[in-house]
Amino acid sequence: LPMAQYLACSRVTILLSFQFILCQGIMTSSRHTNSKRIEGLDKNVWVAFTSVAADPTIVNLGQGFPDIPPPAYVKEGLANAAAVDKLNQYTRGFGHPALVKALSQVYGKVYGQQIDPFKEILVTVGGYGSLFSAMQGLVEVGDEVIIIEPFFDCYVPMVRMAGAKPILIPLRVKCNKKTNIVSSADWVLDPAELASKFTSKTKAIIINTPNNPIGKIFTRDELQMIADLCIKHDTLCISDEVYEWLIYKGHQHIKIATLPGMWDRTITISSAGKTFSVTGWKLGWSIGPEHLIKHLQTVMQNTLYTCPTPLQEAVAQGLLRDYELMGQPDCYFSSLAVELEGKRDRMAAILQDVGMSPIIPEGGYFMCVDVTSLNQDLSHMGDDEPYDYKFVKWMIKEKKLAAIPVTAFCGDASKKQFEKYIRLCFIKKDSTLDAAEAILKNWNS
């Protein structure tokens, strides 16, 4: 062929090949995209911030896990369990018998009622797994689920993955304070506003007490107000109580499931990780009436079937040990709270000393603080993120101190309300708190 024609043919061939590859590429990528149920759920504040904070030179008060060791008897329990052949193999899907029996004992005492270990308890992969099982088992496409802001961030994506609509309502700080010290108790719901959120589509309300990130412990009256609405509108209540033992002096943890009419419509979620300072064990449980728990069990048998055996055995042993000591200072459920109260007070003092206003938590192991008084100019960081995200990223980079931005825990409409707050985790050893103190004291140098 003459050169020109040859070149022309080649060009066409190349063009056709290119189009073919392009089409193949488009075809492949469009068929292997995500399912609709996870559309828009790929972003996650932890994935964004935990890898950054993994740098050992950073003082990490971000993600919520202890850098203090778990109690020795808990670790021993696991080593002992792993030495038994049978305990390295599958156990009962809905919960290792020794564990559900121990839970039945402990919570039977707490609730003041008999709890059936096999029908009213489900063991899950952390409190997280219980939340997921409850959503998948009970929340329908098109349902509405009320969530109180600020909320543990996974509630919204889980509601959305179940095809339902999150309905948000913020806690707001009460004015009329004689002192400057703000407590998490000062953050309250507006009763009329809350009532207005309940509609005929409302399937459930999620509450978290003690609350992450603020540390609020809902009072009996507050819980009664929520309970009244649940009963009036026939909604379910999913009560995330993973910090149930971390209650500071002068406060009491109340289980909404113990209020009249609430046992039959409440799933209560707890965590071994938070109870025994072993977040890496990822064990939790749901407790509730059989007619609700059975649906969570159905989800469990179709998602991961069973939780690890030796870990469940060890938690059972730990629970039995502390059950005997319940009410006494030696009980880990009490002694950990006492230890953490000291750290809480120290953290608050450190922040106050440098002119910041922390919200003193009544429970849990987080403290939120308003950073306005630091007057940090972040205009160089652009406008595409809320202030707290920019502040935390800047602080990690420039000050080597990690925290979590509180707007990660609220919806778009409330971002302005919370964007000056960051969350600090204080279940850390003294040297970590010392290091944080040093950084904050030298802030302006």
Partner: protein, 439 residues
């Protein structure tokens, strides 16, 4: 009277409250029809009666000592062993999995992009279906199949389309004799097909798919642009020199395959529940989204131990010290022992090329299944329950591994797990012999 009034109104309130709760549908539609589960049913039965348990698939011998030591070491390790690790997989584990399987698959696997660690292979399967299957998508399942595939497809809103393995020559002596019809398989693919699930070595049959058989499936996947979900939890357990082939290693398949593995089956520690999904990053990222919105993290210490286990196996790969060679050798002998015993009592075993299980044809055994509580159930279910209650031997009915459409044709097989101590297998033998002699 006053006391009675108070009690009555309390009862009244509770009743009204109960009726009110029951007046709206409590459960979500996605869990309709997936509430029955053979394991829940049969493990309970095995626990209720004193049985020799060849039912559920778990070893009754200990995991290798080096893996138990690794777990103990992790437990006694620093603080970080008991706290959250990286959500998508503990770095030492994903790193060694990438290194190990890159060699096996013949493709450079990125530890952080191409791997997701899950709570057992079971959760990897769940993440895969939830990540990829939309309402109305079709998913091809080859029968007999590990029972969870069907409810998982259903829960994801998908439609399961079944294609059976069939014994050739009418009398199938080994799992190699059970094959797919290529025309039948091809006919199941259409524009709505999102994925096909394969399981090799297969549970319950024990079939180890040959390269040509996988090529057939691969060709169809490529032609119809379908994702292949390859459940390879028994990948190290092949017998008589059968070779496990990874479909992801075939040309054109890496970018469309999710390969699922199990630490529990690999290291004989099923109770640890450490599994993984390996595949191209553009697909794995969707599994990660499901994972971060369902369980988020897996237990740290168990992942650390499995990582140490794989490191050790990487160093001993192909040598006599390799557990991946030692275990199948040990199991080969147990497989033969059980097969011989079953034959001698008139049951016809299908000799498995791989895996934990052996199925046996019970047609020639005539038993008076005089149990009103199992009336109306499939024959193999009734037989298995009778065997548990009357003979103290637990097995699993094979029709549980078939679709509702085809299970009626396969009610004459029961499944035995032979990954048991010799003493357990001898006890089973004794039961079968006594029964046979008593006839």
């Amino acid at each position: 009277w006053k006391l009675f009034d108070v009690s009555w109104s309390t009862i009244h309130c509770k009743l009204i409250s109960y009726i009110l709760i029951m007046s709206r549908q409590l459960h979500a539609r996605r869990i309709e029809g997936v509430d029955k589960n053979i394991w829940v049913e049969f493990t309970q039965l095995a626990a209720d009666y004193q049985v020799v348990n060849l039912g559920q698939g778990f070893p009754d011998f200990s995991p290798p000592s080096y893996i138990q030591e690794a777990f103990c070491k992790a437990v006694n390790g620093g603080c970080s062993m008991h706290q959250y690790t990286r959500a998508f997989g503990h770095p030492p584990l994903v790193t060694i999995l990438a290194k190990f399987f890159s060699k096996v698959v013949g493709h450079d696997i990125d530890a952080f992009e191409d791997i997701l660690v899950t709570v057992g292979a079971y959760q990897a399967l769940f993440c895969t279906f939830q990540a990829l299957v939309n309402e109305g998508d079709e998913v091809i399942i080859i029968e007999p199949f590990f029972d969870c595939y069907q409810p998982m497809v259903k829960m994801a809103g998908g439609k399961a389309v079944y294609v059976p393995l069939r014994p050739v020559r009418g009398k199938a002596l080994t799992s190699a004799d059970w094959v797919l019809s290529s025309e039948e398989l091809a006919s199941k693919f259409n524009s709505r097909t999102k994925a096909i699930v394969i399981n090799t070595p297969n549970n319950p049959l024990g079939k180890v798919y040959k390269r040509e058989e996988l090529q057939l499936i691969a060709d169809l996947c490529i032609k119809h642009d379908v994702v292949c979900i390859s459940d390879e939890v028994y990948e190290w357990l092949t017998y008589d020199g059968a070779k496990h082939v990874k479909i992801a290693s075939l040309p054109g398949m890496w970018e469309r395959t999710v390969t699922i593995g199990s630490g529990g089956k690999t290291f004989s520690a099923t109770g640890w529940k450490v599994g993984w999904a390996i595949g191209a990053g553009h697909i794995l990222k969707h599994l990660k989204t499901v994972h971060q919105n369902s369980v988020y993290h897996c237990a740290t210490a168990a992942q650390e131990a499995v990582a140490v286990g794989f490191q050790r196996e990487y160093e001993h790969f192909g040598t006599p010290e390799s557990y991946f060679l030692q275990l199948p050798e040990r199991l080969q002998h147990k497989r033969e022992k059980l097969a011989a015993c079953l034959e001698s009592v008139g049951l016809q075993p299908v000799l498995p090329e791989g895996g934990y299980f052996m199925i046996a044809d019970i047609s020639s055994v005539k038993v008076d299944l005089n149990d009103p509580s199992t009336q109306g159930e499939p024959y193999d279910y009734r037989f298995v329950k009778w065997l548990i209650k009357e003979k103290g031997l637990a097995t699993i009915p094979v029709s549980a591994f078939y679709s509702p459409e085809h299970s009626k044709d396969f009610e004459n097989y029961i499944r035995f797990c032979f990954v048991k101590e010799d003493s357990t297998l001898s006890s089973a033998e004794a039961i079968l012999r006594n029964w046979s002699n008593g006839k």
